[in-house]
């Protein structure tokens, strides 16, 4: 096992985790910059594999991508180090923030900031839906699946996981 390479991997993914603001896709662009461009540990072609695999496997895209990059570069030990370090910084910060947030949740200043943050989150998710929609929706079949999913989870309280798997089967029939 190459300890110096592992520690480099650790530092890289510590950085990627600490600066990926706003979800998995930010993590992907950071991985591309750090691992492909700056370190040249992976080729652009290999990174395309990372992109594809992390999006078709279940779980958070940022975690899938980090684990796979670590695995590609250094096998099992690389996978462990990359996954651990990409989570580490935010894990520590969340614990600290959660501690103080739960203590001061009813204070005026925290309540006031939340007054802005809560609707902001909804606005942000709407923009993600919009951008993803522009990329994804090509014809009536896509719209049909979206409608089926929304109606089944909202109206008939179908579990979202069931809805996604049913859509996978529907994909085989429709496309």
């Amino acid at each position: 096992m190459d300890i110096s390479m592992l520690s480099k991997l650790f530092i890289k993914f510590l950085n990627i985790g600490a600066f990926s603001y706003g979800g998995g896709y930010t993590a992907l662009s950071l991985i591309e910059r750090e691992i492909v461009h700056n370190s040249q540990w992976l080729t652009t072609e290999e990174f395309m594999d990372v992109l594809a695999l992390s999006q078709i496997t279940p779980g958070p895209v940022g975690i899938n991508a980090s684990t796979y990059v670590g695995y590609k570069i250094m096998g099992m030990s690389g996978a462990v180090v990359a996954t651990f370090s990409v989570v580490l910084v935010s894990f520590i910060i969340v614990n600290i923030v959660a501690h103080y947030f739960l203590k001061f949740r009813d204070s005026k200043i925290v309540k006031s900031i939340l007054l802005g943050l809560k609707p902001a989150i909804i606005g942000i998710i709407i923009t993600v839906v919009y951008k993803l929609g522009l990329q994804t929706i090509k014809d009536y079949k896509d719209i049909l699946i979206i409608l089926l999913v929304v109606v089944s989870v909202v109206k008939f309280k179908v579990h979202p996981i069931i809805a996604i798997f049913s859509s996978a089967l529907l994909g085989i029939v429709l496309f």
Partner: protein, 178 residues
């Protein structure tokens, strides 16, 4: 301890079966923890999402860690974070090579043609579920529209938009809320 183990399996299941990334996982976590297990309220969940999104890192992991901390302190945070990350790790390490072998198969392509729009539907469901506990004031609608205009219209990074919203909320609350 029994409760932590139960929650561990809930988050393991969410991590193992939710395709579509963090924003698809949020409504699944909400369904399991708020609707089914009733461990936290809708309003608390919206608070935690807002805070988790303001912290760097992977949103689904941050929310899960936050919920773990709220329910069982540091031990809870550790186990729930572990539970949500573990399935990804196992699947990638064990199946990466097999999946990559079949990545151009016609079935896999068809499956993902179905999954991709489904994920959009699930994210719409997420907007619906997060919107429900929100106080429907003019100020809330103003902030929602402000974020959409910032991010889509002006191409501002979501995190800047989020910070600006927090500051506006802080000032607004300071002046108007008793």
């Amino acid at each position: 301890m029994k409760d932590i183990i139960k929650l561990f399996f809930t988050f393991f299941k969410i991590g193992a079966f939710t395709i579509g990334g963090g924003y698809a996982m949020v409504p699944v976590i909400q369904k399991e923890v708020v609707d089914n297990a009733k461990l936290i309220t809708e309003d608390e969940f919206l608070d935690y999402i807002a805070v988790a999104q303001s912290i760097p890192g992977i949103i689904a992991v941050n929310v899960s860690t936050f919920i773990g901390y709220k329910l069982y302190g540091f031990i809870g945070a550790f186990f729930i974070c572990f539970a949500v990350v573990l399935p990804s790790f196992v699947i990638i390490v064990l199946l990466a090579n097999v999946i990559m072998l079949y990545r151009n198969s016609i079935y896999l392509i068809k499956i993902f043609s179905g999954v991709r729009p489904a994920v959009i539907g699930i994210m719409m469901f997420s907007v619906y579920k997060l919107f429900k506990p929100l106080k429907k004031t003019k100020f809330s609608f103003f902030i929602i529209i402000l974020n959409i205009v910032f991010i889509i219209g002006l191409n501002i990074h979501p995190i800047i938009s989020l910070i600006v919203s927090g500051i506006i909320g802080g000032v607004y609350g300071h002046i108007y809320v008793k």
